[in-house]
Every structure is written in structure tokens, then in C-alpha cells.
């Protein structure tokens, strides 16, 4: 963004420039930072009211899912590409974090390696399959996810096979211990996951406002129009695909560490669908949609255990109703409603 500012007015004196940027300066904090702060407040608010580790545990899952779904928001909400294989990237992050420590690589490095691997795979696979669109892309990504899942469940010597494997290594508790804070491990993971989700959301929001983000949204509306505006469509799509894979992989690595055990189902088809469902339910166009979708689909089943027999019916009903009455998801619907009331 800074680059753009200087190209429009390279020779302006400092004073004029100040006058010009005045409207921008009135917003003291940028949208990314604002999102980060909102998320941080929500994370803190949760910690304030949670009475037990169980709540922290559910909270941790909500933040981890939010992080993964934020990646889907970038891909689906910004660019309009559907991926049914993102659980694969999620699982790569998770399994790298589980496997590499067995070969003497410390957990944080293993995590980074997993995220990098997921990014590289997305880069390598992205170019050819992103030429497809709509259903064809969905099927191609589904195939990719299935392949990853198959490797994870067949290569038992490496991954423990269908029964899964233990993730040894880092506990978030020790992180806090280093700075003198003694937390239960459920609480520690909650803070780590919440922090990660907040950073992820801030980055995604900043991306949306940046030139690359605007290019992505242009592609969302029309490939051809975007190309005629000089957007390198293939490159932009591939970039969004890689970014969303990185989000999934980070979330996967966090889940592996927080759970201490993973199975190939983390990379399964149903998990991919779950991620897309969260995004669509909450509203795929914004990171708050990711949060709301993740919150509902993670926390609601916990509340619904009282009606265990009707759980699936209620969940299904909510989703069908949301999709019929609020096509763009919950958050955009509520925002629209709010705006209409104001005007």
C-alpha cells in the first residue's frame, strides 16, 4: 500500500503529503490491527468467564478451527474457489509436527517444516489444478485430499496407519512457564490457539485491503474482467491457494500438539467438508464469518449433547435454515440487517 501512495505523489513536499493522508490518519488503527484487537478481546473474554479446563478445551478447538477456516475464507470468500481437500494440508501440518520429533527435530522446527511442506505442495499442485473452476476444481482438490489421506493411513511405518500416532514434544505450558506464568495445559493451549487465530485473522483482513487482495476479489467477480485489468489471474489464484494451505497447516500443527494424538481422519474428506461448511455457515466473505462458523459448529454439538438423539437433526436443521434464509452466511446477513436499520 505504501508503494502505491508514493507512486501517485513522488514529488510532493512533506506538508502536502501530510494533508493528503489526513483522512487515512483519522483511523488511528488499520483494519488488520483492529481485527487483531477484536479477536484478542474475545480471547480474553473467553478466559474471563471459563470456569474449567473443559471450557478452555472447547475454546481451543474453536480458535484452531477459526484459524483453519480463515484460510478457507481467503480461498472461497475472496477468490471464490472451492477446495474439498484442505483437510489434507491440515493433516500435513499435523503429521509433520508428530513425525519429525521422532527423528530428533524439535517441535517448533517440525511445525515450521510441516507448514512449509504444505505450502510447497499447494504451490506445486496449485498451478495445474487451479486452471479448473467450479465443480471440476472441487473434485480435483477432493482427489488431492484423498491422496494425502491414503498416504497417511497406508504408510503405517511412518504414520502409525489408521490407528494414528502419538505426538510427543512441546507443551504450551512450558512456553508460559518460561515467562513465569503457571497455567494448566488446557489454558495454555487456549491462549496459544487464540493468539494464532487473532494473528491469522489480522493477516487475512490486511490481505483483503491490499492490492493483491483487491486482485483476488476482482477474480471472484470475473476472471476475464480481472485479466483485462492486468491481474495475473493464475498467479493470484495460486497465491491464494498457497496462503489458505498455510493456514490449514498451522491449524493442523496446533491441533496435533494440543491433542497429543492424531489419526488420519484429521486429513479425511469429512474434515474438509466441515471446514468449508463452517466458512459458508458463518459467511465466507469475512474472517468474522470464519469465527462464527467455527464457534457454532464446534460449540453447538457440546451444548446439544442433552438431546443426543436429536443432535444431528438440530444441527442439520440450523444449517438448512441458515442457507435458505441467509444465503451469504450468518455474519453478512447480520451486517446487512444492521446497515438497513441504520439507514
Amino acid at each position: 500500500m505504501a508503494g502505491q501512495g508514493t507512486t501517485t505523489a513522488p514529488q510532493e513536499s512533506g506538508r502536502e503529503m501530510q494533508a493528503r493522508t489526513e483522512p487515512a490518519r483519522r483511523r488511528v488503527i488499520g483494519p488488520g490491527l483492529r481485527t487483531f484487537l477484536i479477536f484478542a478481546v474475545l480471547v480474553g473474554l473467553g478466559a474471563l468467564i471459563f470456569p474449567s479446563s473443559y471450557f478452555y478445551r472447547v475454546g481451543t478447538l474453536v480458535w484452531i478451527n477459526t484459524l483453519a477456516v480463515t484460510g478457507i475464507v481467503v480461498l472461497l470468500g475472496y477468490v471464490g474457489l472451492v477446495s474439498l481437500g484442505h483437510a489434507g494440508f491440515f493433516a500435513i501440518g499435523a503429521y509433520a509436527t508428530a513425525i519429525l520429533p521422532n527423528y530428533g527435530i524439535p517441535s517448533p522446527l517440525a511445525m515450521l517444516a510441516g507448514v512449509a511442506l504444505a505450502g510447497l505442495l499447494a504451490l506445486a499442485v496449485g498451478r495445474p489444478i487451479l486452471k479448473l473452476s467450479g465443480y471440476y476444481l472441487a473434485i480435483a482438490t477432493l482427489g488431492l485430499g484423498m491422496l494425502i489421506w491414503m498416504v497417511l493411513s497406508k504408510e503405517a511405518w511412518l504414520t502409525g496407519g489408521p490407528d494414528g500416532m502419538v505426538v510427543s514434544g512441546m507443551n504450551a505450558r512450558n512456553l508460559f512457564k518460561m515467562v513465569g506464568l503457571k497455567l494448566k495445559s488446557a489454558e495454555a493451549w487456549y491462549w496459544v490457539a487464540g493468539f494464532a487465530a487473532a494473528i491469522g485473522a489480522a493477516i487475512a483482513v490486511n490481505l483483503a485491503g491490499s492490492p493483491s487482495g483487491r486482485a483476488l476479489r476482482a477474480i471472484h467477480d470475473s476472471d476475464v474482467a480481472a485479466r483485462s485489468l492486468g491481474v495475473d489471474v493464475a498467479k493470484a489464484k495460486s497465491r491464494a491457494f498457497v496462503i489458505s494451505a498455510l493456514y490449514a497447516a498451522v491449524a493442523g500443527a496446533l491441533l496435533a500438539l494440543a491433542n497429543g494424538y492424531i489419526t488420519p481422519e484429521t486429513g479425511g474428506f469429512m474434515h474438509s467438508v466441515e471446514m468449508v461448511t463452517m466458512a459458508v455457515l458463518g459467511g465466507a466473505s469475512s474472517v468474522f464469518g470464519a469465527l462464527v462458523g467455527a464457534l457454532i459448529l464446534t460449540a453447538l454439538p457440546q451444548v446439544l449433547t442433552v438431546f443426543a438423539d436429536y443432535e444431528h437433526m438440530v444441527l442439520g436443521g440450523i444449517m438448512v435454515l441458515t442457507m435458505i434464509a441467509m444465503r451469504r452466511g450468518l455474519v453478512p446477513f447480520i451486517v446487512d440487517l444492521w446497515n438497513r436499520r441504520k439507514s
Binding site: 470456569p51 473443559y54 489408521p162 490407528d163 495445559s185 491433542n259 494424538y261 481422519e265
Partner: protein, 380 residues
């Protein structure tokens, strides 16, 4: 003050989602009642519900009522871990039964050491009890034992050269590995090793390969679901004359129905649950097996499965331990559980020790042969 009020509100919500706190002894369970492993979790849940009702009707444990808090984890390890946390923290149970699958069990296991709550798993894999974890027990025999039992029967028939045809699912893959592992110590040699996918509809090529291996004397099929039925049918179609062994994974009447006449002559290791009326009068398992079948049939109008039997045993082990401990302190229950001696269940006779948290030996398995569409114990 406000913080307290909010916390109270949240715990009220938690109460709403939990169950009323009337009962004296709370036992937790997280099972795969729905989802891909529902065939395990459903009979397990039904069994536990039935047993709790029966126990309370008879006066509970040492005069105290028992309450079962049961959650459906859908075989998702992630959910299972959340529910385990919830059982321990919110419901404050004294012990937990569950983990229908190895994945859910292993995801939950570390919590029980942290909170010092005894846990009895209903899943098969060896990793659950080897290495032994202080608070983790399990009731099903391992696939390793199934292999040993099958191999013992093969060698007792004077055969040593075995061909494996395994399913590639969790069950088949794990058992295949265990069979390869114990082959040498059991005195057999694996001369052929084939596999098939879970939804394959024809295993003739693999069987032909095995049959044409030099010196092959018996075929073992570690697998689960419909695969073994297809293998059995193909085996009959090819008219192979070496004996075929199936695993305990298909030890149900359903398998005979699926495989039809081809199933006759097949042998497999199973629990006594399949042959309630053929057990000897002095067999210690005769009573529990017949009790369980009668009660289950009355409650649900269907035959209980082997998997429900695992839950039956877990529940009785737990009740027995609480009675002997004379306390509802989880650590004392655990100590009593570990001291369990010769408790006859439907799966086998359990004797726990600090080194053995499964407590079964090979006698828990009976080798059965299918004859005229029914089960017949093979004399040992």
C-alpha cells in the same frame, strides 16, 4: 462479583448441558454411538445403559445409585478428548469407560494420568496397554493374541506354512503386522502376504497367488467387515483345500449370513459369546455369557455382539473394583481395579497386575468352526 456471576451463569449452562446431579456414583463413557464405528459403539452404549438400570434396580453399588454419563464421540479422537475433559471436569465422574476405537482411546489416555481417574478402554490395539499406563486398562483381547491363537491351532494340526490375505483397513493392517510379528515365536512361517482394499469385490487373484505358493498349508485372513466374506466366497469358488482362518473381527452371525454355505469349515478365534449353550457346565464363563445374552435379548430384542461384551466386562470390572475399594475415590478404585483377580466376564477371565492392564490370556479365545451355518467349538 460480576466475574463470579458470569462464571455462575456459564456453569448453569454447563449444568443444563449435563445431567442432574442426583446419583451418588457417576461413571462416564465416551463411545462411538454414531459414525463409522457405530457397529462398535452402539452395542457398547446399549449394554452400559442396560447394566446401569439393572444395577440400580438391585440396589446399586454398596447401596449407592450409579449414574452413567454417556457421550457420543462418533469415533472422532478430537471429540473424544473434549468429552473426556468434560466427563472429568464438568461431570466429575469417578471412572471412564470408552474409546470404542484405538484412535479415540489414545487421544483420551493422557488426560487420565493428569487427573488420576481410572479408564477402561474397549479398543483392541496393543499400544493402549503396552507400555502400561497407570490409569489405563482395557477389556478386549489384542489382535496379537488372535494371531497367536490361530497359529497355535494351525501348528496343532501339524501345519507351519501360512499365507496371509489382509484387509488394508485399520483392523486388518494392525492384525497383519501383529501376525507377522508373532509368526516366528509361534512356530509358523509366513510364505505369502497379500492384501485387498476395503471395498474390493473380488479377491480371486490374491487367493490364486497364495494357493500357488510352494508348500502353503493354511490361509489366514485378518480383516473386518465385508472383505472376509468375499474372501470366503472366493475361497470356496476356487475349491482350495488348505484350511482358511478368519479373525475375531468377523466373529458374528452376520458373517455366516454374508458368506453363506462357503463359510462351512472356516475356523476363527472368538469369545464364548457365540456358543452360550455349548459351554461346559463347569465353565466359569457360562454364567456371565448366558446372563448377558438373556438380559440383552430381553432389553433390545436382538443378540448381543462381541463388542457389547467388551462393555459388559468393563462395567463389571469397574463395579467389582468400586465394591472392593469400598470408596468412590478414583485412585482407590484404580488400585482395586489393578488387583482384580479371576473375574469371569463374557470375553474372558480377567486378572490384572501392575504389568498387565488387559488381564487376559490365550484361553479367552475359543477356536470355533462353522458347521451347517452354526458355530461349533473345536476341541483343544
Amino acid at each position: 462479583m460480576t466475574r463470579q456471576a458470569v462464571a455462575a451463569g456459564v456453569s448453569a449452562l454447563a449444568l443444563l448441558t449435563g445431567a442432574p446431579a442426583l446419583a451418588e456414583i457417576k461413571i462416564g463413557a465416551s463411545l462411538a454411538v454414531t459414525g463409522p464405528a457405530a457397529f462398535l459403539g452402539d452395542p457398547e452404549a446399549k449394554t452400559l445403559e442396560m447394566l446401569v438400570e439393572e444395577l440400580n434396580a438391585n440396589g446399586g453399588i454398596n447401596g449407592e445409585e450409579v449414574e452413567l454419563v454417556l457421550y457420543d464421540d462418533g469415533a472422532d479422537p478430537n471429540k473424544a478428548r473434549t468429552f473426556a475433559t468434560r466427563l472429568i471436569e464438568e461431570d466429575e465422574v469417578v471412572a471412564v469407560i470408552g474409546g470404542s476405537s484405538t484412535g479415540t482411546t489414545m487421544a483420551m489416555a493422557p488426560l487420565f494420568a493428569d487427573y488420576e481417574i481410572p479408564f477402561i478402554s474397549l479398543a483392541g490395539a496393543v499400544v493402549i496397554i503396552d507400555p502400561v499406563q497407570e490409569f489405563v486398562f482395557k477389556t478386549p483381547h489384542t489382535d496379537r493374541m488372535a494371531c497367536e491363537k490361530i497359529f497355535a491351532d494351525i501348528t496343532s494340526r501339524g501345519m507351519t506354512k501360512v499365507g496371509l490375505i489382509s484387509g488394508t483397513g485399520g483392523f486388518g493392517a494392525s492384525m497383519r503386522e501383529q501376525c507377522l510379528d508373532v509368526a516366528e515365536s509361534s512356530g509358523v512361517e509366513i510364505v505369502a502376504d497379500e492384501s485387498y482394499g476395503g471395498s474390493d469385490s473380488d479377491m480371486t487373484p490374491q487367493l490364486t497367488n497364495i494357493a500357488s505358493t510352494d508348500g502353503i498349508e493354511a490361509i489366514v485372513n485378518p480383516g473386518f467387515g465385508q472383505g472376509p466374506a468375499v474372501v470366503t466366497r472366493n475361497y470356496a469358488q476356487l475349491g482350495l483345500d488348505m484350511p482358511l482362518y478368519q479373525s475375531h473381527g468377523v466373529a458374528s452371525d452376520e458373517f455366516i449370513k454374508l458368506a453363506g454355505d462357503a463359510a462351512n469349515g472356516i475356523r476363527l478365534p472368538a469369545t464364548p459369546l457365540l456358543i452360550p449353550d455349548q459351554l461346559a457346565e463347569d465353565d466359569v464363563q457360562r454364567q456371565p455369557v448366558q446372563d448377558y445374552i438373556a438380559a440383552y435379548e430381553e432389553a433390545y430384542g436382538e443378540k448381543p455382539s462381541t463388542f457389547g461384551g467388551y462393555a459388559y466386562d468393563a462395567f463389571h470390572l469397574l463395579v467389582d473394583a468400586i465394591e472392593r475399594a469400598g470408596s468412590t475415590d478414583p485412585v482407590e478404585i484404580r488400585d482395586a481395579l489393578e488387583a482384580t483377580e479371576e473375574l469371569a466376564g463374557v470375553t474372558g477371565v480377567y486378572t490384572f497386575s501392575p504389568e498387565d492392564h488387559m488381564g487376559l490370556d490365550l484361553s479367552a479365545f475359543r477356536i470355533l468352526e462353522i458347521e451347517d451355518g452354526g458355530w461349533k467349538p473345536v476341541e483343544e
